[in-house]
């Protein structure tokens, strides 16, 4: 994985959130205020523009940092600071290295998740993005440890993220706007976990395209 892979990842996320914008909005309308889709679309659209302005000379980590900062400046709400912190921490963890392998990716994603948990204090089961990201990173790490190639490991990570997002349906929200609904948040899939699954699926596709 290289800078071009990260760029492809961000572009694929942007396409994905634009494509699923109405769906994310619907999920957020059920247990929130219906702005998640449009906010993520605006943020990753801005990320796309910020990265397009780069000449390709920056290492992958720096691209992630730019993505993170752009998200903080454009998304707003809680998603902006949370995803912004996630990508900035991931970028910081990668330092200046130009080529990334599976282990580097695990380290970067763990740093991202740690940043999200530090900022938002969400625990597994609170019905948030953590419920998709946590399982995804665990699956990635296990698959790589079992000797799976990166592509297969990312497929396992995406499947875990999607399964984690679906698993938020019966949960009662303990964080964010959905928590105001109490028991009424049960029975609805969390929009933050859903968009997190889209982010992982986009990573899988970006790496696939590179090989």
């Amino acid at each position: 994985m290289r800078t071009t892979t990260i760029h492809a990842w961000m572009t694929t996320i942007a396409e994905s959130v634009k494509d699923r914008r109405d769906y994310l909005t619907q999920l957020d309308a059920a247990i929130g205020d219906g702005d998640h889709g449009v906010n993520m679309d605006r943020g990753f659209d801005a990320v796309g523009k910020a990265l397009a302005a780069q000449d390709g000379s920056l290492p992958p980590g720096k691209l992630l940092t730019i993505a993170g900062k752009t998200l903080v400046s454009t998304v707003g709400g809680a998603s902006g600071p949370l995803w912004g912190t996630a990508f900035r921490r991931a970028g910081r963890a990668l330092g200046d290295r130009e080529e990334l392998d599976g282990q580097d990716l695990v380290v970067a994603l763990r740093a991202a998740l740690d940043g999200v948990v530090e900022l938002g204090a969400a625990q597994p089961g609170d019905k948030t993005m953590v419920d998709a990201l946590g399982p995804a990173i665990d699956a990635l790490e296990s698959a790589l440890a079992a000797g799976e190639p990166l592509q297969a490991a990312l497929a396992a990570a995406t499947a875990a993220a999607e399964s984690g997002a679906r698993a938020t349906v019966p949960l009662q929200a303990r964080k964010g706007r959905a928590s105001y609904l109490g028991e009424r948040s049960i029975g609805h899939q969390d929009p933050g976990a859903t968009s997190a699954a889209l982010v992982m699926a986009a990573l899988q596709r970006a790496v696939e395209q590179e090989s």
Binding site: Q26, I31, D35, N39, G76, G80, Y180, L181
Partner: protein, 338 residues
């Protein structure tokens, strides 16, 4: 929630430019009081003063809050986010710098995850640039339990009261700690509860956030159009007044004979005819309970687009808070004594 194929019945152009166009219109209408900076995306008081600065901000869709409260005696700047979306740190940093006259700046922050996070980042940036910031959290809504299992109580109607009262304190020359202390005192002495009889339609969503059938109401609502704590059969104004007061008084527990300020707020879609009717029900019941409504506010001040409904905020007054409430204010939405 269906995707809309026909245009929304709203007085807008492109849904994506609603906020910017509305802010430009506000500044055009009240150019003597407020100016709009579309680059920084902030509204700033037209006439500055050498005093502690006071800013707030939040998602748009709650007008007149906060932009309509910019002017002498209240806010020095407001940071508007997209509809129902917290503004970003750059906005609050720009606003803080614009209103700082060396005496520090108070940030009024409504207790929502996004607002708290973005204001926190901005306060850190401002401190890095040598500006002292005091952040005041508003969390007056009684409908949500503050516990490990929620995001905490929402900041609702007390925000308006805190901005007015703290604004007066800043105007009379109080220092940074004192202004923040007064805002916190308002928050501690106020409680709110809201009820909706319709949902609302964010321009970007194109359809109502939730379906509220005839004969039903949402109780324990916030200001972002999200569903409330419960859905119940629609009550009369009398029943709704009783429900609101019960919720608020059981939490606030004002002293016997306490002086209070009832604030009956329209959610945006409820006519004045009904707000005053509801106010009458509230005031009568306050007097029956031996409380003394000595100041009041009735109108749509912290709204949720076109949601029909109302909220009650009850502030237990003291002599100082009363005097600060009475102090002159001149903003697009509140204007007395000046």
């Amino acid at each position: 929630m269906a995707t809309v194929a026909t245009p929304m019945k709203k007085l807008i152009n492109d849904p994506a430019s609603v906020v910017k166009e509305s802010l430009a219109g506000l500044a055009a209408a009240h150019g003597d009081l407020v100016s709009y900076d579309p680059e920084a995306q902030i509204l700033v008081r037209a006439t500055t003063a050498d005093k502690v600065g006071l800013i707030s901000g939040g998602g748009s869709g709650h007008e007149p809050m906060h932009g309509g409260f910019v002017g002498p005696g209240m806010l020095d700047a407001a940071c508007p986010g997209e509809v129902f979306t917290s503004p970003v740190p750059e906005q609050m940093l720009a606003a803080t710098k614009a209103v700082d006259s060396g005496k520090g700046v108070v940030h009024i922050v409504k207790n929502y995850t996004g607002d708290v996070m973005n204001f926190k980042l901005a306060a850190e940036d401002a401190e890095d640039e040598g500006i002292q910031v005091e952040s005041v959290l508003i969390d007056d809504d009684v409908a949500v339990q503050d516990s490990l299992y929620t995001a905490g109580r929402r900041g609702v109607g007390a925000t308006v009261l805190a901005e007015k009262i703290a604004g007066a304190a800043a105007e009379r020359g109080d220092d940074l700690a004192a202004v923040a202390g007064i805002a916190r005192r308002v928050n501690e002495r106020a409680r709110s509860y809201g009820v909706a009889v319709s949902s609302c339609i964010p321009p970007a969503a194109g359809a109502p956030i939730f379906d509220l059938p005839d004969g039903e109401m949402e109780v324990g609502i916030g200001i972002h159009g999200e569903p409330g704590r419960e859905r119940r059969p629609l009550g009369s104004a009398s029943e709704i007044a009783e429900l609101m007061l019960e919720a608020v008084l059981s939490d606030l527990e004002p002293a016997e004979g306490a002086s209070v300020l009832p604030f009956v707020n329209g959610m945006g879609g409820t006519p004045q005819l009904e707000l005053y009717l509801l106010y009458g029900e509230i005031e009568r019941r306050l007097r029956e309970r031996g409380l003394r409504p000595e100041r009041r506010l009735v109108g749509s001040y912290i709204t949720s687009l076109e949601m029909a409904g109302a909220s009650l905020t009850l502030l237990q007054l003291d002599d100082e808070l009363t005097a600060l409430w009475d102090a002159p204010v001149h903003t697009p939405a509140l204007h007395w004594g000046a």
